[in-house]
């Protein structure tokens, strides 16, 4: 009955889901997480390293416990992708829709990430963030730039959203949880 077994059982029993929040720096990852946790979003500084936050969320009459790993855009990621005890169930890729110059970088980083074998099978949710800014591209445009239609290895979904106003955040999480639950909490 080591830590490993305990955590595995707990995950099944308490419907724990591990989500990894990634994206280029200044995409708004931490703002999204703070919105989820109901924390003050007026002052946010760049994330150095990572934060783990736990929130509960109800989808289709099931209570889920989301462990969200908010990893800084600049930090070295490998250590966070997986530890022995918990594997990543879902990826939330946050895009700064207004930062047109770096969308190409964004595409490359995402592609590199999805090739990582430790993330194989994880569900991908793309938040086209900062829709509250006038110069923001639409979700469709972002989808085309990121070439999501060519993505065959992961289940994916893209949504326009705004971390500041909270637009579409819940809709996105609902989709993500449903997709993950269909995979790991079968028959429930």
């Amino acid at each position: 009955m080591g830590l490993h077994t305990i955590l595995k059982k707990m995950k099944q029993k308490e419907h724990e889901v591990r989500l990894l929040m990634l994206g280029l720096d200044n995409a708004g990852k931490t703002t999204v997480v703070k919105q989820f946790c109901g924390e003050d979003i007026s002052t946010i500084s760049p994330t150095y390293g990572f934060n783990i936050k736990t929130v509960e969320h109800e989808v289709d009459n099931h209570e889920y416990r989301l462990n969200i790993w908010d990893v800084g855009g600049q930090s070295s990621l490998r250590s966070y992708w997986r530890n022995y005890f918990e594997c990543t169930d879902g990826l939330i890729w946050v895009v700064d829709s207004a930062d047109v110059d770096r969308l190409r970088d964004c595409r490359q980083e995402l592609r590199k990430l999805l090739e990582e074998e430790r993330l194989a099978g994880a569900t991908l949710l793309v938040f086209a963030n900062k829709q509250d800014l006038p110069e923001a591209l639409s979700a469709e445009q972002i989808r085309d730039v990121l070439e999501l239609n060519e993505l065959k290895t992961h289940h994916w979904y893209i949504l326009p959203c705004s971390a500041v106003t909270g637009q579409n955040l819940i809709a996105g999480i609902d989709w993500l949880i449903r997709d993950i639950a269909a995979r790991i909490f079968i028959l429930e």
Binding site: M1, G2, L3, H4, I6, Q35, F36, C37, G38, D40, I41, Y48, G49, F50, N51, I52, K53, T54, V55, E56, H57, E58, L66, W69, S75, S76, R78, S79, R82, N83, Y84, F85, C87, G121, T165, G166, Q167, L169, I170, I173, R183, I184, I186, L187, E188
Partner: protein, 1148 residues
Amino acid sequence: MDGELAVGGGGGGGEVEKEKCEEEIRNGGDDGGGGGGDDMGLWPHPSPAKPSNIYGSSVKVRGHKIIFKKLPHEVKDLIPVLELLECGDASDDFYQSYVLLLWLSIIIYNPFNMTIFDITTTTTTTTTTPGLTVIERIMTVIKTHLNSAQKSREMAAYLAARFLTRPDLCNRHLPSFIDNCFEILDTESQTTNINAIYHKLGVLRALGLIFKHGRRDELAGHADTVFVRSGASGVTSAPETPIRKLAVKLLQRVGLIFLRPKVAAWRYQRGNRKLAINVESGRAAAAAEEVGKKKKEKEEVEVEEDEEEEEEVVREVEEVIDSLLQALKDKDTVVRWSAAKGVGRVTARLPHQFGDEVVGAILELFTGRESDKAWHGGCLALAELARRGLLLPERLSEVTPVVEQALVYDELRGQCSVGANIRDAACYLCWSMARAYHPQQLAPYIQQLATGLLIVALFDREIPCRRAGSAAFQEHVGRQGTFPHGIEIMTTIDYFAVGNRTNAYLNLSVLVAGYPEYTQVLIDHLVEKKVTHWDSVIRELTAKALYSLTMVCPEYLSEKVLFGLVRDSTGGTLAIRHGAILSLAHVTHALSTVASRTHKPLHTFINDEMLKKILVIISTLEERQLYRGLGGEYMKQASAVLIEKISLSQLPIDDDNIILKVWHDLLEECIVYAGENIRTSALDALASFWTTYHQPTTPDKVEWRNQLIHRYINILHTTDRELYCLGYTAALGCLPKSLACGKFDVLLPALLSTIAIRPNTTAWAETRRQAINSTLSLVTTLGINANEKECDTVGKDSLTSIYSVLLKSLDDYTTNRRGDIGAWVREAALVALKSLTLAVLKEDPGLLSMDTVEEMMCRVCQQAVERIDRTRKVAGTTLTALLYSSPPPLPHIPCEDKLKAVFPRDTCTTINWASEKTTYTLFVQLLDQPQYRPRLLLGITYSTGGIAANLSRYTSEALHTYLNGRAEQPHLLQSFWDTLLSLFAEHQKVDRITLPLIRTLGDLLTSSAVLDTVLQDNDKATNQLITLLRKECIKCSDYYKLTAVITVLCELLRLSSPTATRNVFTQMAIFLGYQYPKVRAMAATSLLTALQEYSEERDLVQGGEETLEQINTILEDTEWMNNLNEARTQRNRICQLAGVIPPQPKMK
């Protein structure tokens, strides 16, 4: 992840199957029950077995609770299912009754009146026990299955719980059921029958589940009885683990019945977060207000509940908790784990004061008096409490020291160690704490927790513990963010990095120790717990880790640690001494390195008094006779390391001859020891020891050196024990330049004579290998120089003799029961040839004579085509190095162009030299070259005629390809044949070579006609071969060799002229009358086949068809295996028919 995906596959299919299954089970049920008695004969058709299996598997994967909800729950299914259960033989299918019971549990969960059935069904069911109500029938089914040894027992218990807690049955049937259960528990305890245990398990589980699922108010009346009677039945102290576990479960649930279900108001909460509420409230831009409101609400709730805390806790609850605390110390993990969860559940309903007392009671488990089991149970219970918020922040000051101790709990009990589970559970506790508390609450304990977890992650002996430590550390960094340098360290000690223990000890520890907060605590931990650890591997790793850590902070080691290490070096137990000496050795070395790097005098780190103590350690151990016995091995090894490190540190000894002599004697004792690790440590030590303390600077020392070498050489020549010869040979190889210089002219002949096989040392292959290595290392130490004296450096004459001995040692095919141990020598010689040649080339290529190079190249090629993969690989690498030595190139390579054409540089670097598939096709091409041909053929025939199927297949393929390619060049084929025969002649009667060679000949002759041109009507060649074969068979008793010879002889019938044929017959006649029956039979069969096959082409026997027919008949009809005299008579008849003189038995 994998597991989950697999579940996905099964579950996905299950959904589709589900409908079908239900349908099938229903049909089965209808046929069996609804149709009445006449259909029973047809049952099972369609059988419910298959769908049951599918459901059973689904339950196995997803658990019955989830499948339970998926089963159809219609009242109309009740009777069919029940009847299936009643008539089915419980043992006929493993899953059937299990699944049916599960199904029944959901059907009876429907709210309907059970008694209705009794009116409607009595008319239809005539076959099954008339007169009983449905309720009674269900109870019977339950009771039958509760006594089952199969898994259906568990489901019967589940059904019982669901059934008896129905509101309409609770009052009437529950009391009698409970009564019945305890009767069973009481009576079955009297017997030792194995089924009694199953029955007890069944009823205990049923009781437990009843108290889990039932309503508190309805069960409250029974709780007292159950509590008292279960105590009286003694199940909590039963010898069977599962019974104790179920008893603990029952107890905790009874305890919960006594307590009002509520969430403990006093529990510590770190904010209740709901994603939806948070985001919605954020959108309303009134987050702050909302939070404030919520807080207020919460406070109100708390106030309300505070008022309720007047509630009395009944005496039974105290007893339940007491039993649970006892169960935390149980000897089995499952029971402790169950108890821990029970403690958590019960405590959640207790009032503040009482709950905190429970925490206090758990903390009392962590004392030296309690067993390791108690520690483990205690950790689990604390972690459960922390997870539920029942471990209040005020208690953290008491919990943290306990955690610190539990994280390093490691004790040796007899032959095994205990504590790994405790350390793991302590990690679980830390992990829960990271999730439970606010950073502010944990702030005072951060340092302890961080270092505790780091120590586990870096220095634990077990991999699961290191990983658990790393995971808990990660959880703290991510959730608390308060660990100093958390993120940097987290990326250093991640899950994968800590997997390898050596890496964790030697590399990661240094990186982490680079952060000043952790340096000293890491060192302290190693010194306190790991230097004297019970596992010697850990002690060695610790010593090495301390070397690196000393570099990080030398002052601390020198001031605080060194003294203790010196003291323990002569301490009480073996582990302490061994560990302390090893660590002392490494720390001393590190300190001296730091001193010389920083240009400080050594005594700033190691003061004179300490130095003296270090130097006398070995003498003290010697006086106390601690180098004897089994423990002595550890002491010897550690002491050798100590001497080595002292020598490397160049500690001043002031020419104290007594110490030096003691050390030297000890090392000499170690180099001839049987344990290899002791020998290697001692040899390493000897090299540095001589270098530092025995430089021949004074006449005395020179004399000492001369005597030393003289003595060693003398041992080499005189000893009759291989270990001595091996040890001293190795020691000579370790001589530093200053000591060997001037003595090489004596050393070399001694070593070379050890390489040679002497009559009384034939089996000493290991020594010969060592001698080759020692020679090579001496050559490297002294350097090659043709112009200096032969006693100082390696000159031309020395080289000549070294080369000749090395090349000779490639003929070392010593075997013992381990097989071809000569291969060690050959491989060592190949490596030595390579290194030596490259060294000579650098110095002066002119030192290499043409003959030497030619022989070397041919012999290396021979080794590259022999039997052992590993040897071929070494030879291949050597060949590459010699062929493409750069610069200068090796002169005098025979047929260099051809060689380079066959083995271009690219091929040499990419080819797998050990693979028989690729290398042989290349090497056979060299058979064209007369220089290489003999050696290569020697090697190739050795492989082809071997018993390894794959090897002989590829080599023989390569040979055939070669020969077929030369079909138009008879002179090459002729030379090929001549070489084979001359090899045969040369090695006549050497079984190792001739047997494979004859086999190869047989293979070449039977499966290819390419050599026919050489043999056709060439009496000389054939007769020469027959002569050789005959000589080989004289006094031969090897069946395999005789078989091979017979094959070749019969093949010769195909080719040879009449004279040669007669010779063959003569020889075969001997075999037909051979003293071994098997040989006679073999000869007869082979001859018969050959005669039938080849007589069509020409007349093999004078007298034509008729004679041949007669011979064939004799060969066929005689029982060759039976009687020797009979066989010889028949043989003589054949001889007469064939016209050869029958062999005469020798007159004795």
